[in-house]
């Protein structure tokens, strides 16, 4: 029975993947919709990366900074040192990890809110610093102007991560999101994943069994920083622009948190589901309301966040998963070949917890 339910989830995943592959060709005439899908994948990716920290039982409020660090590193290397962003994104990973250690090492050993506060403070302070700094030694941060990516060959140069159409970005974002979700899924089946679950559920019990909670939390955080930095490079390359006002902003951190929480905090597929819901809504709101009602957009975000925490503490993930399971049972039970007493009504463990 277990086997059936899991294979059904894989079938659903395959169908969704097939649809996702077709979309950019169907919507070739509507780049705006492709853009929305790219954003969905980008935020799905970022929130999945953010969720790794959550799986180890902590909460990061400064993940936008790592988006910014990744994007800034690869873009500055490209602008001033002519290093292709394909390599620059790895440099971004290193920079983000170094900052991750500085923030994570002192705070993740402790219980209580220190880590959440440190990420929050770090985000705000680094953003203020970058916005107000033109040059840091040899590094040209360019202050509030941000970094405008110079286009090579009119923006059609795959060797430097620049593409003429949205389709390659679409597939890169899709692949990154799938990789992140798979990574998170696989990690949950390894020793590290079990340690995270143990630490999250009961730190005392986990430590009494000899698990070094600080170490494994730091591991989760660094992995998360590294993935987020890769997302930052994609961000900079896709928009051809990155600035600290947006790319390191608390509002972006909160958006990442919101997507993760609405989909299902501390679940594997939750961030993906959250992105599919939140990002189109937010884009539609932005397009419909325009600049007329400043604040309404974020007001709705805040209310959604409160509502989900109060009434759906595990997010939409369980709803979607049980919906899928119902659908699976329905489909299977109409198939006479499988409709045997031993199999009908079997409830398998669904993907994600």
């Amino acid at each position: 029975m277990e086997r059936r339910s899991i294979s059904f989830n894989w079938i659903v995943a395959a169908i969704l993947l097939a649809i996702a592959v077709i979309i950019p060709f169907v919507l070739e005439k509507h780049p705006y919709y492709v853009h929305i899908f790219i954003l969905v994948f980008l935020f799905g990716y970022l929130s999945t990366a953010w969720g790794l920290v959550g799986q180890s039982g902590q909460l990061s409020f400064g993940h936008a900074v790592f988006v910014g660090l990744g994007g800034y590193t690869s873009t500055i290397l490209f602008m001033d040192y002519a290093i292709t962003p394909w390599i620059g994104m790895l440099a971004g990973v290193i920079v983000a990890s170094v900052f991750g250690i500085i923030i994570g090492y002192p705070t993740l050993r402790l219980r209580g809110p220190y880590f959440a506060l440190a990420t929050l403070a770090f985000g705000l302070i680094l953003q203020t610093y970058v916005v107000n700094t033109q040059e840091l030694g040899p590094i040209k941060l360019r202050g509030a102007m941000g970094l405008l990516l110079p286009l090579k060959n009119g923006g059609d140069a795959p060797a430097v991560f620049q593409f003429a159409t949205k389709t390659p970005y679409y597939f890169i974002a899709l692949a990154m999101m799938i990789c992140a979700v798979l990574l998170s899924y696989l990690l949950n089946r390894t020793r590290i994943g079990f340690y995270w679950t143990a630490i999250r559920s009961d730190q005392d019990a986990a430590e009494s069994l000899g698990i070094n909670a600080g170490k494994y939390r730091l591991l989760a955080f660094l992995l998360s920083c590294a993935l987020t930095a890769l997302g930052g490079t994609l961000w900079a390359q896709y928009f051809h622009y990155i600035n600290a006002e947006r790319g390191m902003a608390l509002s972006l951190s909160i958006e990442i948190v919101l997507v993760g929480v609405v989909g299902g905090w501390q679940t594997i597929s939750g961030p993906m589901i959250g992105a599919m819901l939140i990002i189109p809504i937010s884009e539609l709101l932005r397009a419909e309301l325009g600049g007329g009602f400043a604040g309404l957009h974020a007001l709705i975000y805040g209310l959604i966040l409160m509502g989900v925490i109060l009434w759906l503490p595990r997010g939409l993930n369980p709803l979607v998963m049980s919906g899928l399971k119902c659908l699976g049972d329905r489909l299977w039970s109409t198939n006479p070949a499988v409709n045997t007493p031993g199999i009908v009504g079997g409830s398998g463990k669904v993907e994600g917890r």
């Binding site: 039982g57 902590q58 909460l59 409020f61 500085i102 923030i103 002192p106 705070t107 402790l110 219980r111 209580g112 809110p113 220190y114 959440a116 506060l117 440190a118 929050l120 403070a121 770090f122 705000l124 302070i125 203020t128 610093y129 916005v131 107000n132 700094t133 009961d202 730190q203 608390l250 909160i254 948190v257 929480v261 905090w265 009602f293 400043a294 604040g295 309404l296 957009h297 974020a298 007001l299 975000y301 805040g302 209310l303 959604i304 966040l305 409160m306 925490i309 109060l310 503490p313």
Partner: protein
């Protein structure tokens, strides 16, 4: 040079009074309820808007509006605890150890308040103009604005008053008992959730008091909350989670560091000092300078 330093020191102490006034309420709420009140800055903003509109529409002096704003802030805080956090606690105590959900809830509340204010009042900076707004004491080369001095005194009085309330009254004993061990307090017959709500209300009332006293010299705008709240978090960690005198001292330290540091490096770089200090404290003495809670 010495004169500049002394002026910077005095300016830092005055700013520190402002930080302390915001941090005291936060520290009380954190120390007792163990909730990181993410929305603290926005609650401050809300009470400052209340004071501003009382002045604008009814011509009530900001210092007089304390009489109206403080009870409102208390009711608001009581309501937040009762209607938002209380249901979370009842659910969380069964299966979640760290109240991270409450943190997210308060982040949502902060967004809703800040952007609700943006929607209602636009992003204009509002200021109250009072006849004594520019009055200052001149001591040699020093110029001390009266309104800031009043806030400094108020911050110290509030810290003293709150400490007295916590250590010398029946209510304070109850609050501290609930903060130390809520199960034991409940066994002794205390209404834990009512006490929590009173504490939250008290923290908000203190903040509202400070907010009104800030009005004569501080601009109100919808996005003022979070930066002040984050600074207060740093102060509360520095002074010691849950310690009221710690919040006062931490506020002065951060104010002075920023102000004196700002003499040597640009002000934006000076703000990095506070983060570095925060990390150092967390690294070497997580319970803070005067902390009562073990990390």
């Amino acid at each position: 040079m010495v004169e500049t330093l002394i002026s910077a020191l005095v300016a830092g102490l005055l700013v520190g009074g402002l930080y302390a006034v915001v941090a005291i309420g936060l520290s009380l709420i954190f120390g007792i309820i163990r909730v990181i009140n993410f929305a603290h800055g926005s609650l401050l903003m809300a009470s400052m808007y209340a004071g501003f509109w009382l002045w604008r529409l009814c011509g009530i002096d900001p210092y007089l509006s304390i009489v109206i704003v403080v009870p409102l802030a208390f009711i608001g805080g009581y309501g937040v605890q009762h209607f938002l956090i209380h249901p979370m606690f009842q659910r969380e105590r069964t299966y979640v150890v760290e109240p991270l959900g409450v943190l997210l809830l308060m982040a949502g509340l902060d967004m809703a308040l800040a952007n609700g204010a943006l929607l209602l009042f636009k992003s204009d900076f509002r200021a109250v103009t009072v006849p004594y707004g520019a009055a200052a004491i001149h001591l040699g080369f020093l110029t001390i604005p009266i309104t800031r001095l009043i806030l400094l005194v108020i911050s110290m009085l509030l810290a003293l008053g709150l400490s007295w309330l916590l250590s010398r009254t029946e209510l304070g004993n109850g609050i501290r008992a609930v903060g130390q061990n809520r199960e034991a307090a409940a066994l002794c017959g205390l209404n834990v959730y009512h006490t929590y709500a009173l504490t939250f209300g008290l923290g908000c009332a203190v903040t509202g008091f400070g907010g009104c006293a800030m009005l004569p010299f501080y601009f109100v705008d919808p996005s003022m909350g979070l930066p002040l709240a984050i600074k207060s978090f740093i102060i509360v960690v520095l002074g010691g989670l849950g310690s009221i005198p710690g919040a006062l001292v931490g506020g002065f330290i951060i104010g002075v560091v920023e102000s004196v540091g700002g003499q040597f490096v640009p002000a934006t770089s000076a703000s990095i000092f506070s983060l570095i200090m925060f990390l150092f404290i967390v690294f070497f003495r997580p319970k803070g300078l005067m902390g009562v809670l073990e990390a």
